[in-house]
């Protein structure tokens, strides 16, 4: 069997994704350990959108606030950073389908065979957000989704959810299902990724965060754990964070 070197090198690039040691190593006599050779996560940097354009970003913030509405105790999807989370995820390996099997042929299968489209999440979001605005403009006198009243926004999203509103050149139902999943993921993921700002979601549910030791608590049954959450970068009181 002969292998094509270029193919192999392309494959090898995925081998090293996110890994500290890229090349084949021969290990004899001692563990291959290097001091300070960790691979900490990359923090989402505040600032302009990385993937969305301005309209897409506003629409995502509006959808995030419908999926997670603000209330007096806990901010909504927008202010907790869920759209920023999705933006940074779509601009990164997730949006590009890095590491997934994307070789042809692409054929339609059964539901139990899973996702078979060549298009990844980034393309899905781009097409669906554009199609959503087109649908809103034609139905609501030229208004984009962002500019609809709160109740009209909910009406549109409910229609996407139950399949009553069909989008042009995009699967609106699949898009909204994915958006719900991603918004809620951003809400509950570590704040280092741009959502769950100030650990608002963790405070809301009582999750103490990236702690590492509950030895003193495993035998204390039916008592509320008293300590506030911490994230991978500590707590707001310790590390001043941008908005």
């Amino acid at each position: 069997m002969r292998f094509h070197r270029r193919e192999l090198l392309a494959g090898a690039a995925y081998l090293v994704l996110g890994l500290s040691r890229a090349h084949a190593t021969i290990i004899v006599d001692h563990l291959p350990w290097t001091p300070n050779a960790g691979n900490p996560p990359e923090a989402a940097v505040p600032g302009p959108w990385h993937f969305f354009n301005v309209d897409e970003g506003r629409a995502m913030e509006a959808i995030a606030d419908c999926v997670i509405p603000p209330d007096p105790q806990t901010p909504g999807g927008k202010d907790s950073g869920c759209a920023v989370f999705i933006d940074r995820q779509l601009a990164g390996p997730y949006g590009r389908q890095d590491g997934l099997y994307v070789r042809p042929p692409f054929q339609t299968g059964t539901k139990s065979q899973g996702h078979q489209s060549e298009a990844g999440p980034a393309q899905l979001y781009r097409e669906a957000l554009a199609a959503l605005d087109r649908a809103c403009r034609s139905k609501y006198a030229g208004k984009a989704f962002t500019d609809l009243s709160a109740s009209d926004k909910d009406t549109v999203l409910k229609a996407l959810e139950n399949g009553d509103l069909q989008l042009d050149r995009a699967d609106g139902k699949a898009f909204f299902e994915q958006a719900i999943k991603d918004i809620q993921m951003g809400f509950f993921a570590d704040p280092i990724y741009g959502g769950n700002r100030d650990m608002v979601a963790w405070k809301m549910i009582g999750y103490p965060g990236a702690r590492y030791n509950y030895l003193d608590w495993v035998n204390r049954h039916n008592e509320r754990f008293p300590l506030p959450p911490v994230s991978m970068t500590g707590r707001a009181e310790w590390t001043p964070q941008a908005r």
Partner: protein
């Protein structure tokens, strides 16, 4: 042209649990051993330190420590007459990659199989008659008994420091343990882990319903332990990040914590990471392996000659490498001939989530370990009379919740909208008072003629080789078994005091997108007859006697337990056959 390396006594393909066990055993015998691993070296300080290991997004959702499908994946279909399509992102199971294999990010549930599981066909036929089994069910005996494997179970448990409560010591049933387990020669090396509130409450409810609950045997240790190789492990801190995650605390049994620091110091051992074996080479006769060919990350091909070849990759990759190396006859489900790819199985999993009154119940569900839990075994294997039920097999059920990482564990009671203000307040009100057992119903998965592995005619991997094709569906027997177990499980969760239950039965079709477990087994099974097994009872290839194939690919069908303890015990069993028998007289250890 492959560059040829100096010959070794032994080459090991895949450096996870079984590769590490075999390397340690054969270097003790004085042999010169090299282990080749497709993925990178991994260890706590560099790959999962306590400063950032608790990252649900990175490790659970984005699969950081697992194989990437672009490196290698499979195609899948439910039925023989369908077109198989590639698994483009992982779902039903999660193949490992890297040194330590699945042993890095497993939950460390350490179950022994029942004595009857090893003689399953004989046992069920004797008790219920031949006509009781479905016609297309292809279950068979293992060719080994529980009593033969017991010393090896014991050895692996003591290597890992396993925490548990014995239920059967040399035939004497012990209070507080699993009364259905086979006799064990001595107690667990360390006592059972402490149980959080929800797990304790399950145990109490089960006892009140007349069952005999016991703590799940755990490779996350209840106390500090020094293993027989002199390696030290720390007590588990119940951080709730085992499953999908590496342990930063040296508390979870893995090749890294129990074998590797000892093994790498031996002068007759070498490992090579980021080196993927693409073929086992055989001589012209086809009956003798000459070594392996592997590719490193720069695309360079190497040939590693060896006298003895140990195939110890993850189960599916073992089968795939045998097919690509043309060793053994591929299984043909229509003609019902051949053995490579035959009797592929998984695990029949479901769960019941319980929603409790948050004014009365606070479970602090984030306090847990991967193998914590209270279980009952009344409905496993053939521990109960299947006569009136119309199915065979079973599983343990238990509150085995491994934590409450918030992306996956913010559940709402049935009927709650999926988004909006009602969703948000339901999440807030239920997080601390919900019981989410995960794989709470852990059922067996028996083998069938039309569930198997082969090579795909269309899709290729990055080397241009055909992907392996999985044909699998759930049969009525497993669906009935799961309905029965799930209903029994729900009764106990209800008795704990839950206001609302969310029952999730396992139903056909088998869905490749829904995570079940990574317990995929079979395809190169052990047995007594070369017509129905790829390996003899010592895990030696019938066709190529200087090749041994370790791992769950050797299971003729799957029992209602997690597989790793049996996988490790079988590795010790095969190692002792090589040390005591094969090396004295290399050749077939069993006459066909």
């Amino acid at each position: 042209m492959a560059r040829k390396l100096p010959k070794k006594d032994v080459v090991i393909i895949g450096f996870g649990w079984t590769g590490a066990i075999m390397a340690n055993e054969l270097t003790d015998e004085g042999l010169d051993v090299i282990a080749l691993e497709r993925g990178p070296w991994r260890d706590a300080p560099t790959d999962f330190p306590p400063s950032y290991m608790q990252d649900e997004l990175r490790y659970r959702v984005r699969h950081e420590l697992f194989l990437r499908p672009d490196q290698l994946t499979f195609t899948f279909r439910n039925k023989i007459d369908q077109t198989a399509l590639p698994i483009r992102s992982w779902g039903a199971f999660m193949p490992p990659n890297g040194v330590g294999g699945g042993g890095v990010h497993w939950n460390a549930e350490m179950w022994r199989f029942l004595p009857s599981d090893f003689v399953l066909k004989t046992h069920l036929t004797e008790r219920y008659g031949k006509g009781f089994l479905p016609e297309d069910m292809t279950i068979q005996d293992w060719g080994i008994t529980y009593d033969e494997l017991e010393p090896h179970y014991d050895r692996f448990e003591y290597l890992c420091g396993t925490s548990g409560t014995a239920g059967n010591l040399k035939g004497q049933i012990q209070e507080g343990g699993n009364p259905f387990e086979g006799p064990r020669s001595r107690p667990y090396p360390t006592p059972a882990q402490a149980q959080p509130f929800g797990h304790t409450l399950f145990g109490k409810a089960a006892r009140e319903l007349g069952y005999k609950p016991f703590p799940q045997p755990s490779g996350n240790l209840s106390q500090a332990y020094t293993n027989p190789l002199g390696l030290k492990m720390g007590p588990c801190t119940y951080c709730g990040f085992c499953e999908w995650f590496g342990c930063s605390n040296y508390s979870k049994a893995s090749p890294q914590t129990t074998i590797l620091p000892y093994l790498v110091r031996k002068p007759n051992f070498t490992a090579r990471d980021n080196s993927e074996v693409i073929r086992i080479n055989v001589d012209k006769s086809g009956k003798h392996a000459t070594g392996v060919t592997f590719v490193d990350t720069s695309g360079e091909e190497w040939e590693q000659p060896a006298d003895l070849v140990i195939l110890s990759a993850f189960s599916l990759f073992n089968v795939q490498l045998l097919l690509h190396s043309k060793i053994g006859e591929p299984y043909d489900p229509v003609a019902n001939t051949g053995v490579i790819g035959r009797n592929y199985t998984h695990q029949t999993i479901s769960s019941v989530n319980g929603f409790f009154d948050n004014k009365k119940f606070n479970f602090n569900p984030f306090i847990a370990s991967g193998a914590i839990g209270m279980c009952i075994d009344e409905f496993n294997g053939d521990n109960f009379d299947h006569g009136p039920l119309g199915f065979v097999g079973g599983g343990y059920v238990g509150q085995v919740q491994t934590g409450a990482r918030p992306i996956e564990s913010t559940l709402t009671p049935p009927g709650t909208p999926k988004w909006g203000a009602a969703w948000k307040s339901a999440v807030r009100d239920n997080y601390l008072s919900t019981v989410k057992p995960g794989t709470g119903v852990h059922g067996s998965f028996y083998a069938y003629r039309d569930v198997y592995l082969g090579l795909d005619p269309t899709y290729k991997d990055r080397f241009g080789r055909p992907l392996m094709q999985i044909t699998m569906d759930l049969h009525d027997n497993e669906v009935k078994q799961n309905k029965f177990l799930t209903d029994k499980f729900a009764e106990i969760i209800k008795a704990m005091g839950a206001d609302h239950l969310a029952k999730q039965y396992r139903t056909a079709p088998y869905d490749i997108t829904q995570y079940q477990t990574t317990h995929v087994n079979g395809g190169a099974v052990m047995g007594t007859d070369p017509k129905t097994s790829a390996l003899n009872r010592y895990l030696q290839s019938w066709d190529v006697p200087n090749l041994f194939v370790l791992g769950a690919s050797a299971f003729p069908q799957n029992a209602g337990y997690n597989p790793t303890l049996t996988v490790g015990a079988l590795a010790y069993w095969a190692a002792s056959a090589i040390r005591d028998k094969y090396l004295k007289n290399p050749g077939r250890l069993v006459d066909a």
